[in-house]
Symmetry: C2
Subunit: 337 residues, 2 copies
DNA sequence: GATATTGCAACAATCGATTGCATAGATGTT
DNA sequence: AACATCTATGCAATCGATTGTTGCAATATC
């Protein structure tokens, strides 16, 4: 009864306080223009009625959204679910970094059937900027949008002539690191597991090839185009192990997810790891340290990557013209090699 | 030059089309009140200038947000990162279900230091409803908010006297299923891995106890309060294996993440699974099928859970008073037991 | 040919907050 | 006492869209 009606906007509160809406607005914003006494009184009143100004109205007036759109374009691999550990790990780091800056994260899973998918988000007026986790096969569209919409950054490859700002690791170098490590371990026959339609994967494969070339073993590589989902990877690898007489002794997997499936397939075929076959993954996702045996892998520092993405994005929002970042991958040796 | 100025709002477009803003609004909404010819003309014009009405302004007027807040309260376990596979899997399913209904997902990681954390989101006017992934140790606050704010559902336990609407699986039953299975496998000495501060875990432990009681083995259970993060779980288990003389032959893990760490620790101690020790996990996360050996676990159908959460939420938004859902967990037998 | 009906589009209020400018009252100065 | 100077607030326009009401033509009806 003391409440009479729920205080639902700044005008209600103003009436209650016997001041004008403008004063309330200023008071809640702790503006020096309002006398300290009035300010405190209004703030107390707001707390008492637990009133909080409507964020949407504020954003409309202020012309900012207070949210960053995070999109996961799943172009080439419809099977690849949003819950893919890689995306999720990245997403987690992004959520942390954005929360820290007081921004919300507007998540959209996107299956880019319609070429307008990116424009729709960008022009919605709901976000102050956009982060793409992966470029998928949508490079053209991304570049086209990036030309007119600057607060946009993407995780992924940094290709020559690319318009949009990206953060990623040097995939070619990663491929080289992985392969060299296997060479040092005495491997003589290699397999690359992964589908090089995605630009990142193609670069990793290229690095792998380059390292073998250097070592004079260019002809010792076979490629198994395993998709990025665990299940398909496993069955592909498994049937491949059945068929192949000469199992390679060095496996470079395009991702940790694929590597994990490989470990399982190998275990099921009673192939000793690292006794008979050495396996290197890619990403160093949290679970890479929990597999049996623990997974040697190429570390992409996703936490650092997320920081870069967010940092670059905010600099772009502020008007700066930033250029892409290529991080250096790192070999993490564990038990699988 | 044909564009002169970028068309940034409905008024610009109206001027260009030689009609009033209201007409443009109706035309873009495909309202029958506008003549077909005019409608098409305006729509074409909008497409040409790729103009899309500002969603925030629309939402303000229309009094809906078009977004659902998804919160992950990390009360008890500060170490538990948002990228925990369980959260992420759930989040993925939620993103799918919400996208399908045309809603966006506003993600916030929440460390509830401040008791106002939930109110802040609820009253922000930015979301039409809230989904909590887990209750953490915040039951009181959740219940308190749920009393006045109905469009709120939570994944987690359904405790007697609980005010808020929740979706979860019957954890006690899950604990029973896991334990009975181990009993059938001939286990005689049991260990439960997990920290029962979280209500779900406590229920699972209770089920485990009940099953042992039934079998007359109530005294054969030891409890290792492993936290939910992989790393701490592993080291806890590992040092425990070092110390304990009599290793149990049946392990009930409170989650798949913990189980995976256990598998690794056991492998490192050269304990055969399932030869010497049988292990059962909980959740049936995607990776449970990729471990070595693959993990027997208690399946919580997260896809179905997410569907329920979303479905209930929208019914609540529509004004219905829904009650909680308890799903039945299911034993999935794989190679670890 | 005068009136009733209908179809289209314009007008203007509204959602809830922010903010530049105007002003009333208090204080200070001579 | 008259005037200048501040301070603290009120006023009203604004952000960009939606929508009930109104007005005007063109057509239909007698």
């Amino acid at each position: 009864m003391s409440e009479q009606q729920r205080v639902k906007n700044i005008t209600d509160l103003a009436r209650l306080a016997g001041v004008s809406p403008g004063t309330v607005s200023r008071a809640l914003a702790d503006s020096q223009l309002i006398a300290e006494k009035t300010r405190k009184r209004i703030q107390a009143l707001a707390r008492e009625h637990d009133f909080r100004p409507n964020v949407m109205a504020r954003n409309l007036r202020i012309k900012r959204a207070g949210a960053i759109g995070v999109l996961i374009p799943l172009g080439h691999e419809t099977g690849q679910h949003i819950s893919d550990p890689f995306f999720m790990t990245m997403l987690g780091h992004l959520a942390d970094a954005l929360t820290e800056r007081g921004y919300d994260l507007l998540l959209s899973r996107v299956i880019p059937t319609d070429p307008d998918w990116l424009n729709r988000v960008v022009d919605s007026g709901r976000v102050d900027g956009v982060i793409l986790i992966g470029q998928s096969d949508q490079l053209q569209i991304i570049d086209q949008v990036a030309q007119r919409y600057t607060p946009l950054v993407a995780w992924g490859a940094n290709l020559p002539g690319q318009v949009h700002c990206s953060v990623g690791s040097d995939n070619r170098k990663g491929g080289i690191l992985a392969t060299r490590h296997l060479i040092e371990r005495g491997c003589t026959n290699f397999a690359f597991l992964g589908d090089p339609v995605a630009p990142e994967i193609a670069e990793r494969l290229e690095g792998c090839r380059a390292a073998l070339m250097d070592a004079g073993m260019a002809d010792r590589l076979s490629i198994l185009q395993a998709h990025l989902t665990a299940e398909t990877a496993h069955s592909a690898i498994s049937s491949w192990l059945d068929e192949t007489k000469s199992v390679p002794n060095g496996i470079v997997a395009a991702s940790d997810v694929i590597a994990m499936s490989a470990l399982r397939a190998l275990a099921e075929h009673n192939v000793a790891v690292p006794g008979t076959v050495h396996v290197v993954g890619y990403d160093d996702l949290p679970f890479a340290n929990q597999t049996v045996p623990t997974l040697t892998t190429i570390r992409q520092d996703l936490a650092a990557g997320a920081s870069y993405l967010v940092d670059l994005l905010f600099r772009r929002i502020a008007g700066e013209r930033t250029s892409s970042v290529v991080m250096s991958p790192e070999l993490v040796v564990r038990m699988s090699s």
